[in-house]
Subunit: 341 residues, 2 copies
Amino acid sequence: MRKLSIKDIAAAAGVSHSTVSRALRGSPLLKPETVARIRQIAQEKGYTASAVARSLVTRRTQTIGVVVTTIADPFVAEVVGGIEEAANDRGYSVFLANSNAQPEREMKVVQSFAERRVDGIIVTSSRVGALYTPMLSNMKVPIVLINNQHPGEFVHSVMIANLEASRQAVQHLIALGHRRIGYLGDRFGYQSDTERFAGYREALDCAGLPFQPELVAHGDGRPEGGWAAMQKLLALPERPTAVFCYNDMSALGALRAVREAGLRVPQDISLVGFDDLFVAQFTDPPLTTVRQPKAQMGRLAMETLFELLEGAQAAQLLRVPGELILRQSTAPLAGHDRAAA
Amino acid sequence: MRKLSIKDIAAAAGVSHSTVSRALRGSPLLKPETVARIRQIAQEKGYTASAVARSLVTRRTQTIGVVVTTIADPFVAEVVGGIEEAANDRGYSVFLANSNAQPEREMKVVQSFAERRVDGIIVTSSRVGALYTPMLSNMKVPIVLINNQHPGEFVHSVMIANLEASRQAVQHLIALGHRRIGYLGDRFGYQSDTERFAGYREALDCAGLPFQPELVAHGDGRPEGGWAAMQKLLALPERPTAVFCYNDMSALGALRAVREAGLRVPQDISLVGFDDLFVAQFTDPPLTTVRQPKAQMGRLAMETLFELLEGAQAAQLLRVPGELILRQSTAPLAGHDRAAA
DNA sequence: CTGGTTTATGCATACGTTTCCAGATCGGGC
DNA sequence: GCCCGATCTGGAAACGTATGCATAAACCAG
């Protein structure tokens, strides 16, 4: 038994297939009773319209492609949740594809999106650099990047306000009396690392604290790298009393390194993360961190895409503020009277 | 400038559009040099075939729909990662949709999948019950369920071997000398809860331990519910010395409740979870739990779907084993000599 | 009753592919 | 030189929908 088409139900209703098409789309040209009758019949027969045939003629698929490094990353998953929700609200479906941070794979999935004629594309935390953009921009669909890791002005993007957020985080440490504050960054030179580092520097400058290069260490954005980087900082002749970590994943590793060294957080060392992953609430101690409004960033990206699809102007770059979440991994410097800070 | 079609490049090559179609698909009918020439031209002109037009005639979209409760759930995200990977390996794209555990929304997205003519559907942790299946089965596409929460034989599914895994987890506690072992379950009566509870009972029976109803409490599968349920258990005149939690999320709440009661895990109470979420490695103490091979379950579901798509028989029910991961939230019963167990 | 509007419907075409069938070209055996 | 088969290519129809245009029916004013 073939899937039924508009013609089958046209035959059943004794009208032309154009009439059926109009009835189902709710055209005002038709007599209301005709519309009702046809819909009734379609319903009874269990007819479901073919979006693919529709797309062929309308040249719109009501579909967007989302490429992520890996959906298993909790940060990414929440962003995608926001995207999907916003898309679904407007009748769009989303294609999801993992790039696994491999440029060639990212190209491949974007190619596949092009063949599927998605109306737009959202890319999160792309690590694909300059070679990337020409390809993206010569396909005719609008593209929005979320927390893009390589600077570039040509496309639309929504990003966390890295500099302000990290400045605020470090200022929090300074307010607690800390003077030797480490920065645990990412060794790959991504934009978010660069910007967060800049915020760290700014906070030091504002407080008149000297920048000490030996207090900077680089991980890989994951617990393992954070662990190794933290060990270096702990091995310093004069170790930092507080460390601002590039992201929560690094902070997890850092936390472990501190504990393994027989020290306590926050009594011996204060730790701040970035992202506010779910896990941050459940570490020991719960992690002070900068919250990124992940789902909202997803929604925002989707809404930007909608504006673009409607031919409207859209902001080239949307910066959303982070929020410092105070938990128990930060404490006043031992022997420091907070009021005196 | 319109997107170019097969005809545009046919004109450029001085052949018919049928020939172009064959060249691009790699038909053996064509002279190899013709194929090469046409591909060359298509390449130069930046042609990308339209999957939607193709789908219309082939009646295959090379597309599958995945419906999840919410992609923000880390468990789900990993499963979806496995699905996407397996799909992508074979040239399939995946539509992702959140149901937010609302039946009507789940219906809606499945409807939308039907319109898009997906070749198959995968549903994870569906909480939609019986009313659901007729609809699913009368659309003609194959469906596979992952960890379905309502029993039913009509469709294909892959599930974790709940009973065996939970029996093993509880036996671990028994081996540690525990005798008063609590079960912290889910109050919604899902299949996974039922089965895990059965495993708990079996383990008690095997060890000749009495089942004590007061040692069973129900949460909601999330930290809040686990927290509340654990408080009840702690308030017992004679509290359990170990608790097996239905899932890691509940265990997180339980952990917090224990700590708030001024007790220590595992010295005062041993705790076991289920799922092995990422967070389980980073709690204090790290959580002993049953690992579900999430990505693999996703792959398996996808592969089952492929078999179905090829018209092959496929197992109605695939059970994958869990794996007990020993961490630091379980310890021998205080004053108990393990060797004597 | 007639002619001109308005209203409701049907016809035909287009969207961009795939694929069946027919036709053209070519080489070779007789 | 002719015919046959093999090899390659083109023509045309089909997939299921949307929509511009033509047309039929109904209405109303004169």
